[in-house]
Amino acid sequence: YNHFPRDLKWKTTNVTFRILNYTPDLKKKVVDRAVRKALNVWSKVTPLRFTKTFDGTADIMISFGTKEHGDFNPFDGPEGLLAHAYPPGIGIGGDTHFDEDETWTEDYHAFNLFLVAAHEFGHALGMAHSSDPGSLMYPVYSYAKGFPLSEDDIEGIQSLYGENPDHEKFKPKPIAPEKCDPELSFDAITELRGETIIFKDRFYWRLHPNMPEPEQTLIKNTWPEIPNKVDAAYENPERDVVIIFSGIKMWALNGYTLVDGYPKYIHKLGLPKTVRKIDAAVNIRDTGKTLLFVDEEYWSFDEQTGTMDTGYPRSIEDDFPGIGDEVDAAAYHYGYLNLYHEHTQFEYSYSARKVVRIMRANSILNC
């Protein structure tokens, strides 16, 4: 998180706000509700209290305008700039302006007024932009459900105003994982048309052969239909689909689009009902088999016949000596199975039937 220079903030925790005009995109009461909800995001985690006024000058003056709208800081028509706000202070300080050339909504279409307002009120209270892509104070718009503040946002605003003395329970969004954190473990790994996708928490890293820097993105920004948490994933190159597992459900992605008819239950693969989660999955391209790791055991699914091979489950420890008994994520490249557990990656040679190399899990992220 960042603050403005000199940690600009309001000298009192009682802040007034006034809505000067309304967007025709939404009913007046919907705008009122979105503004109040957006202010409550910040009062939930601090002693800040917001009072609505209907005349005179409030600390936070809220208005909708297009292009040059009076502060010599013009908007730019549809898209691009959505809104801006000024840091705490007298006069224009705290004022928040929305670009009326945008389409304002109360759901995931176009631009959600509540989310943009919550971000701008962060500025009006003293927060500058954060470079954490999972933070509300990240400069680029993205739609997300649930409580919008991440731990990064909360740390920032509480370092200005302190905690909320009578706080209620809320679930802040976790900070985006750091790729070179030595303790980093992965949720899942899969190939996707020549790229490598690594899932961790609400994010994924995308590795592309000619893109040396892995790119971190929110899962929901690319695949809004799948959950925020992926347990396992693998690519079936013959069918050009990636199968995503989360809990007892699975999704099939054809590139970036969801295949019709999904999600389905994982038990359709032939797994027993007792299995409630798949830890890791990997397609062995040379045999056409997909290995599904669950706790200390693994199954082998024949992609050709669409059935589970007989004689499974088998013990991971017995069949892959040296890697321990649990797997978080798995990938297969040219005869080598990379099995990830916690912050370690084991490279298992099929031909030699043994672990030939042990590395940090995030060495794959150039760390």
């Binding site: 220079p5 908007f75 691009g80 700039l81 959505l82 809104a83 801006h84 718009y141 893109m211 971190q216």
Partner: protein, 82 residues
């Protein structure tokens, strides 16, 4: 005289214009004319600042990823606190 210089393609020009506006608005790049050479150094430095902020690969160049990010809908407050 024969010259191998080519006019800049319009796409390149668009990118440069977009980047210039973006960096002036969000990364405090001064507007107006600069000494030739100085302005491109300054631009590269500002591109680097923006790539660092967004955790992109820091190249100082207007690569696709950087331009793509500049085109995303966003908040109008500068990224560098002035």
């Amino acid at each position: 005289a024969y010259s191998s210089a080519k006019p800049i393609s319009t796409e390149e020009k668009d990118k440069a214009v977009l980047a210039k506006k973006y960096l002036q608005r969000f990364y405090g790049m001064p507007a107006g004319l600069q000494r030739p050479g100085k302005s491109s150094d300054l631009m590269q430095q500002k591109i680097r600042e923006m790539q660092e902020f967004f955790k992109l690969e820091v190249t100082g160049k207007l690569d696709d990823k950087t331009v793509e990010l500049m085109e995303m809908a966003r908040c109008g407050v500068p990224d560098v606190a002035e």
